[in-house]
C-alpha cells in the first residue's frame, strides 16, 4: 500500500515535469512580447529592453526552464512577471478559494446526484424515474454561462443571494458561504446529470448481480439490501468521476468564476495566459495538476476501500 502510494507519487512527479515542459513549450510559442503586454503599448523600446533584461527573457529557453524547475523543486515558484507578486502565496490563496468552492460544490452535488440516480434506478421505468431522467436531461443541455445568468436573475436579484462571489483574502468558509451558493449551484447543475446518470446505471447494473438475490433471499428488508449491498458497489465508479470533476472544479471553472467573479484558480490562470505571465501560469498549472492527481489518488484509494476486489496497485 505504502509502496503503491509512493509509486503513484513518482508518477505524479513525472506528470508534473511533463506538464510544466508542455506549458513551457506552449508559452514559448505565445505571440506578443511579454514586456509589451506587461508595460502596455505606450512604453518605448528602452523600457521594454530593461524589462526583458530584468525578466531574463533573452536567456536561452532551456536555461530559463532549468531555472524555473530548480526553483520549483526548491519550493520557490518565483515572481509573477506581470504583477511582480510572489507566486507561492498568491496561488496558495487562490487554491484555498478553489478548494472551498470545489468542496462545497461536491458536498451539494454528490449526495444530490447519487440520491437522484439511485432513486431513478430503484423506480426504473416508473414516473419518478422518467421525471428524474427528464430533469437531468434538461440540465445536461445547459451551458454553465447560461445557468449562471439564469441563477443570477432568479436567486440574486429576486431572492437576494450575492450575485457577486468575490471574497476577501482569508475569508473563512462559513463567512464565505453565502457567496459560494450561486457558483456552487451552477457547477452542481453541470455535474448533476452526469453523476446521476452514472449512478442510475451503476445501481441498475448492481441490481442485476446475483449477490443482490442472495441478500434478498436471506430475508433482509429491501432498504438494507439497497443501502448495505447495492449502493456500496454501485457508487464505486461514481468516485472516479467525482475525482475527475474535482480537477475541473479546482481550475476549470473559468466561466463560472468569470460570471460570478469568484477569485479562484481558473480566473488566475486565464489572467496569467492573457498577460503571458509564464511563472504564474506554471504555478497555477502545477497546483492544478497536483490537486488533480491527489484527488485521483484519493479516489483510487477510496475505490479500493469500497471495492476490495481491486487490489491497490494493479
Amino acid at each position: 500500500m505504502a509502496r503503491y502510494i509512493l509509486r503513484r507519487l513518482a508518477f505524479l512527479a513525472l506528470t508534473l515535469v511533463l506538464t510544466s515542459l508542455l506549458i513551457f513549450v506552449i508559452t514559448q510559442l505565445l505571440p506578443g512580447d511579454v514586456c509589451r503586454v506587461i508595460l502596455g503599448r505606450e512604453v518605448g523600446e528602452a523600457a521594454s529592453q530593461a524589462c526583458r533584461a530584468e525578466l531574463r527573457l533573452d536567456d536561452p529557453a532551456l536555461v530559463r526552464y532549468g531555472d524555473w524547475l530548480s526553483g520549483f523543486l526548491r519550493g520557490d515558484m518565483g515572481l509573477s512577471y506581470s504583477t511582480d507578486a510572489e507566486i507561492g502565496p498568491l496561488v496558495a490563496e487562490r487554491l484555498g478559494n478553489s478548494l472551498m468552492l470545489a468542496g462545497f460544490t461536491l458536498a451539494i452535488a454528490v449526495p444530490l446526484a447519487t440520491g437522484l440516480g439511485a432513486l431513478a434506478a430503484l423506480n426504473e421505468g416508473k414516473w419518478l424515474d422518467n421525471l428524474i431522467s427528464v430533469f437531468s436531461l434538461a440540465v445536461v443541455g445547459l451551458p454553465e454561462f447560461v445557468t449562471g445568468i439564469v441563477l443570477i436573475e432568479l436567486l440574486a436579484f429576486r431572492v437576494g443571494l450575492p450575485a457577486n462571489s468575490s471574497i476577501r483574502p482569508g475569508t473563512g468558509f462559513f463567512e464565505a458561504l453565502p457567496s459560494l451558493i450561486l457558483p456552487a449551484l451552477t457547477a452542481t447543475l453541470v455535474l448533476l446529470a452526469y453523476i446521476a446518470r452514472l449512478t442510475r446505471a451503476g445501481v441498475l447494473e448492481e441490481l442485476k448481480q446475483p449477490y443482490v438475490r442472495t441478500a434478498a433471499l436471506k430475508g433482509l428488508p429491501r432498504w438494507v439490501v439497497i443501502l448495505r449491498h447495492v449502493l456500496r458497489n454501485a457508487l464505486a465508479p461514481t468516485i472516479t468521476v467525482v475525482a475527475i470533476s474535482f480537477g475541473w472544479l479546482i481550475s476549470g471553472l473559468v466561466v463560472i468564476e468569470n460570471v460570478f467573479n469568484y477569485p479562484g484558480l481558473g480566473r488566475l490562470m486565464v489572467f496569467a495566459i492573457s498577460r503571458r505571465d509564464l511563472p504564474l501560469l506554471q504555478g497555477v498549472a502545477m497546483v492544478t495538476v497536483l490537486a488533480f492527481a491527489l484527488a485521483n489518488l484519493g479516489a483510487d484509494l477510496l475505490y479500493a476501500a469500497l471495492n476490495p476486489r481491486i487490489r491497490v496497485g494493479e
Binding site: L18, T19, L137, G141, P143, F145, V255, R276, A285, T288
Partner: protein, 295 residues
Amino acid sequence: MTTTTNPDLASESAAPVRGQRWLVSLRALLRNPAHTAGLIIFILFLLIAIFGPMLAPYGVNEQIVEDARQAPSAAHWFGTDRLGRDVFSRVLLGARDIFSLAGLGTLVAVLVGTSLGLLSGYRGGLFDELLMRFFDSLLSLPALLLALLLLGTLGPSRQSVLLVIIVVYIPIVARVVRSVVLSVKTRGYIEAARVQGESSARILFREILPAVLPALAVEAALRFSYAIFLASSLGFLGVGVQPPSPDWGLMVKEARDNVSQTPWALWFPAGAISILVIAVNLLADGLKTLFRVED
C-alpha cells in the same frame, strides 16, 4: 456448464444478413421515442447547418437600423439584436458554425484518437507507455484551460478553435478506444485470427475496430456535445470564434450585455445550444443500441 445457447435467436428462421443488420438496429433505436427524438432533432440541426443560408430570411450581418432591438414578431421570428440583425437568421446560420467546429473537430479527434488508441492498445510496450504518459499530462489540466492556453498561442480564430477541440479530445478518445482494445485484444477470436494467420493491420481494423465502434459512437456523440459546450464557452469568454460570426456561444455573450433590452437575442441561441446538446445526448444513448451486436 455455462449455458451459451440462445434458442430464441438461433431458431430465428429469417436471420438478417449483414446489410439488413443496420436496418434492424435502426429499428431498435427508433423503437425508443426519446432516442428517435434525439435523432430527428439532430438531423434537423444538421439540415439547418447545410441549408441554413438558403432558409435564413436575412443575411448574417444584415442590419436593419429601424428594426434594431425588436421583440420577436412576424417579420423577425426571434426578434432582432442590438445591431438590428435578425436573430432567427443568425441562429440558423450559426448551426453551420457549430457543426463545422464542434462537429468537424470531434470527427478529426475521433479519427486520430481512434487510430492512436488502436495502435497503442494493440501494440502496448514503450510506445503505449510514452503516449499514455504524454496524454496524462495533457489531461491533467482541465480541457478549458488547455484550450485557453492553446488559443493564447494560436490566437482566437475559427481554425484555432477547431485545432483546440481536436487536440483536447484526441487523448480522451484515444484512451477510450485503448481501453476497449485492451479488453478485446484478449478475446478468443483475436487469438483465433492470429492463429489463422491474419495480419496485424487486418486484426486492428477488421477484427478489433468493430468492437470498438459501439463505445466509440457513444463517446463521439458525447464528445460532440462537450465540444459544443467548449466551443461556445470559448466564444462566451471571447477567445473563440470572433464577431461578427453567428456562433451561438458568442451570440449569448454579446446578448448578455443587452439581456434587459433584447432577452430573445440571448435565449434563442442559448436554447439552440441546449436543444442540440440534449438531442446529441439522447442520440448517444440510442447509438448504444445501434451498434450493439448480440454476442
